[in-house]
């Protein structure tokens, strides 16, 4: 557990590191408030046409859904694969190792089936 306190410390340090640079820049950088159209959003030097806050077609949100499936799978893999080498008696082909191995094949088979399904359903196509 104390290890993860250190992670928190470093997260803070990272934020402070960036924050300090930005504060320092605030102090030393010049400021010329609002000259001309400098505070407009950049759109190749022209006034933007309409806001960017629109409901627009992302086109790849379905990938995100498929991703969820596979990402969860990766988490399941971690413990399974971690023990593939060490389970049972060291060395040798034990039943439990073969079972894990077969399980792995089955699991990935299911996943590949899902992938193929998504592929056939044109989820993996743009739009």
């Amino acid at each position: 557990m104390p290890e993860y306190i250190l992670v928190g410390v470093f997260a803070l340090v990272g934020l402070m590191f960036a924050g300090a640079a930005m504060i320092f820049s605030r102090i030393v950088a010049p400021r010329f408030p609002n000259q001309g159209q400098k505070l407009e959003a950049y759109e190749s030097g022209e006034k933007p046409i309409g806001s960017a806050r629109i409901q627009f077609k992302i086109g790849y949100y379905l990938f995100a859904l498929v991703f969820l499936v596979f990402d969860v799978e990766a988490v399941f893999f971690f413990p399974t694969l971690g023990v593939l080498r060490s389970i049972g008696e060291p060395g040798g082909l034990s039943i439990s190792r073969i079972a894990i191995w077969a399980e792995l094949f089955f699991f990935i088979g299911v996943l590949v089936f899902a992938l193929v399904y998504a592929w056939r359903k044109k989820v993996l196509e743009w739009e």
């Binding site: 290890e3 590191f17 960036a18 640079a21 950088a29 400021r31 959003a41 933007p48 023990v83």
Partner: protein, 360 residues
Amino acid sequence: MTPLSITHPLGDWIRQQLPSPFAAIANGLIAVIAIAMLVVVTAIFLVWLERKVCARFQARLGPTRVGPFGLLQPVADAIKLLMKENIRPRTVDQLAYFLAPLLPITGSFLVLIVIPFDHNLQVLDPDAGIVYVTAVSGMGILGVLIGGWGSNNKYSLLGSMRAGAQLFSYELSMVLCMLLIVMASGTASLRNIVLSQQGTILDWWIFKLPVAGLVAFLLFIVSSTAELNRGPLDLSEAEQELTGGFHTEYTGISFSMFFLAEFVNMFAAAGLGATLFLGGFLAPQIGWHPVDQLLAFIPGFIWFAAKAYFLIFLYMWTRWTFPRLRIDHLLSLEWKFLLPASLANLLLAATLVLFKWVIP
């Protein structure tokens, strides 16, 4: 393995001198300073290196004027970026716009602390080191997403949406490649992964698993390029299409935070690749005793740096050679090629491990 040992002698000495809570704090402080220094130095050096290497790829000289070989050029750039006016457009989302540049650099801090630079040069060695790395490495892209959305600019918006798609797609094959190493070495701790590659060069995971190791290494390089947002997979920046992508609206120091993080993340990813596939801090032993002794005499962190910079060179090489993919090709490449390939590769490796063709 105590979590706080920067180096054994120094850590032990501090532990002898101070009572334990203070010693932990002192060691922690040293770690913080060391990592912060590493971030700054790496970023500055890599900016210089990228410019130099890119120039040489393009038959140019690169920076030559500031300092010897232009070494101080990035320092000059940093000063310039610090002194630039911070223009915050009127239309941005204040909180998101401010928060976004802080996140990528924090992410790179968090990745760097688990990377074993040498036998005892590692801030933290969590048992599930690889899970931790995949968890925190997403932070950079989070910054990109938030920044792109907060900028209220159509170019940024497109860039950040692309970044999102790219992140979650390439995360998969990257995790699968790492999993392969976890399976082969039987541990998820980065330090133990390195130690599992002891022996000659042929004991590195890239060679030890015939075919599967090499394939996993290549897949790792490709998917980490996408994760790092570097060309040819730098879709969220894509300056020819989106002018600057997610950082179009960022100026001065807030832009340089993205920029800095990109380079530090590149070092972290290269370090990770070296750790997983190239034996990390271990010296490349060739099995001939006199040479091996000589090679082992060189400290581990130098070997680590050499391997990491070799990978960095690979990243730069591909970046300055290949044209950029289109976003739908990028996603097809992952889902229709890299993901099935890494799944098949994983199965191949599992079979190899099971029948112990390679691993004793």
